[in-house]
């Protein structure tokens, strides 16, 4: 297998971008990425998008974007695994390069979510749940994650304050990120007094509805060396795993087995343990998600995520920073874009280009992206070579 480097990252300001179309978002992030890479060579394109059909009436997106990016004729495909679509677009681009099918592979993640009503967006997102056993009966994701939160509180004594602390931390980080959709700081009290969505989840426990895109350009390490980009960042491990997408069909809704397996596989491929990781970007679609995920990843033991967050373990200055970018919570969550943006943040931090949110001495980053309530997950390990 050929070693694969990340030679370009492209972000953009996320938000309610009514003046930008789905294709505009892709092209903007992709051009930023190519400018960052210092090359416009693209041999293949993968696009992560969860539901461009339901959000905008546009499938066949990869061909469309190849054309509008001036790369008509290159191989292109969209990949989807609900909110893990972006991470899987990067994994697919990785395989393009690793296999030798392509030399330069561009992965774009995107979602254009604000062209539909809130109800339509909620329906579109709920297609990541089991349509026959969950969606049909009317449950949506805040309700599913509320059940996980309630179970976590019951079993481990996790408190409302601890959940709120995740939002406080991530909005603090997001306030230092020029691309964040909601870069304002929030207090614990603001989170705990915000509008109830699905008990115990309140509006400030939720990631927002966002328009946005992100892109990364991959090539072989040998090619990357020619471009003399320093420091060189490489993908040393990838893990992808699945679980039932229906919460009711799991033995234990606090056991996120797809996240456990994806993390183990990625670390094994990289020849690392979780203790070798400098920081992580994780899928905090709700505050409880960050807590459950860092337990599944082995950053802390089961039940310890709440206290550890309050103690500052996962803050920018902590021993294991989580979501230096602001996470989905503050940066925004254009669902198909999230997994790609996580890798953009990993590379930006590893290069030492993260400005006011820079983590010191970061050598190895982990990104964890998931679909639905953990029905799929993909983990990447990115290291400075």
């Amino acid at each position: 297998m050929r070693e694969v480097a990340i030679i370009g990252v492209g972000m953009m300001k996320w938000g309610e971008l009514w003046e930008k179309s789905l294709r505009d978002l892709c092209v903007e992030a992709a051009l930023n990425c190519l400018q960052d890479a210092g090359t416009d060579r693209v041999d293949a394109i993968t696009i992560g998008a969860m539901s461009s059909g339901l959000f905008t009436g546009q499938e066949h997106l990869a061909s469309l974007v190849a054309d509008y990016l001036g790369k008509k004729n290159v191989p292109a495909v969209r990949v989807e695994s609900a909110c893990a679509s972006g991470g899987l677009a990067v994994r697919t681009a990785f395989m393009e390069v690793a296999s030798g099918m392509s030399e330069y592979a561009l992965a774009i993640g995107v979602e254009k979510m604000t062209d539909v009503s809130g109800g339509e967006a909620t329906y579109a997102l709920a297609t990541a749940a089991d349509q026959e056993w969950e969606g049909f009966h009317g449950i949506t994701f805040p309700g599913l994650y509320a059940m996980i939160a309630r179970a976590h509180m019951e079993r481990y004594g996790t408190t409302r304050e601890q959940l709120a602390e995740v939002a406080v931390k991530n909005h603090h980080n997001g306030s230092l990120n020029p691309h964040a959709q909601f870069p304002m700081k929030v207090t614990r009290e603001q989170v705990m007094n915000s509008v109830m969505v699905a008990d115990p989840i309140r509006i400030l426990d939720c990631s927002p509805i966002t328009d946005g895109a992100a892109a990364v350009l991959l090539t072989t390490t040998d090619e990357a060396k020619k471009l003399k980009k320093q420091p060189l960042t490489v993908i040393t491990g990838i893990g992808n795993a699945t679980d039932t997408i229906s919460l009711a069909q799991r033995k234990d809704i606090l056991q996120l087995t797809a996240i456990i397996a994806a993390t183990e596989r990625a670390l094994e491929m990289a020849g690392k343990t979780i203790n070798d990781i400098s920081f992580a970007e994780v899928h905090d679609c709700f505050t409880i998600a960050e807590l459950a995920v860092i337990e599944a990843m082995g950053v802390v033991k089961a039940g310890q995520s709440g206290p550890a967050t309050v103690d500052g373990l996962t803050s920018l200055e902590g021993k294991f920073p989580i979501n230096p970018s602001g996470g989905l919570k503050s940066k925004g969550h254009p669902v198909g874009a999230t997994g790609v943006a996580q890798i953009c943040e990993a590379v930006t931090q590893l290069r030492g280009e993260a400005g006011k949110r820079q983590i010191k001495n970061a050598k190895a980053a982990l990104t964890q992206n998931m679909g639905g309530s953990g029905g799929s997950s993909v983990v990447h390990i990115v290291e400075v070579k």
Copy 2:
């Protein structure tokens, strides 16, 4: 790059399958495939589906199917490129094995199209067109292909009778295929007197709305040899290419550049020319599509496809059989499944297991799958090793 063999193919009877759900279709085809392969080892799953969101309200399909197939936890992803989704699912599975990320990769193609009304299905299919420049203005695929047909008739003198002959041939082949949705023969007169859809395209020029799935299992040639499956079929070439998805943005609507490029790339990778190919399965979503595609592939010169079809070049007994399975026209066209089913037919023919529609002395097959009106195309070359 590791050499990749096809060790199992799984088809099922296609049609209006109201008693089978989206997940049922996937599982049925996949189990048939694993039974054919003689192994149930699956290390990764790729699923080609165009718009499970619009057709059934179900995204996140790959995880769901992994679970229902008894393979929960394996890596899984859906890939999409409109009606070329199936072919691209096979290409992605190929990269899983070729890169060394997985040893056994299962590619499933599926579409469940009859749970919605005809109007909703037409809308869902139209999302393969450019939403801003085509779909928004109300045009759907019969209209787009009618423009291609009209231009072909004007430039080359292609006749209504020649178009009809494609349907006659493919329904003849389909009548010999137990999996075909519409296995009845049709006459030239029946086609030419059938209901008008978009002049000059009539209902019997169109592929149908279909529920169905298909699956193939890939592994390395070295692994395949251990299973002692004879004859061994390997994928020796793959080409994928894109074009504008909007017809109006092309220099010449009779130049299907994505098909030309995808065919050239696949043949080059396989070290072959079109004259080395024994037969092909091509994307006859409309009768005119088969004519335009075999010209783009170089089977005949531009403008010669109509007369050549009438002369029998592309019949089962002809020098270059096209669509021995019955094609999309007779076999049916569950859009995401089509590209995978084409490869099932290629393998079935190469193994000599095609029964009454068996082509003699077939050594190398080509499959051509495309999205929209040629906005994307993927071509595979499958050979007996």
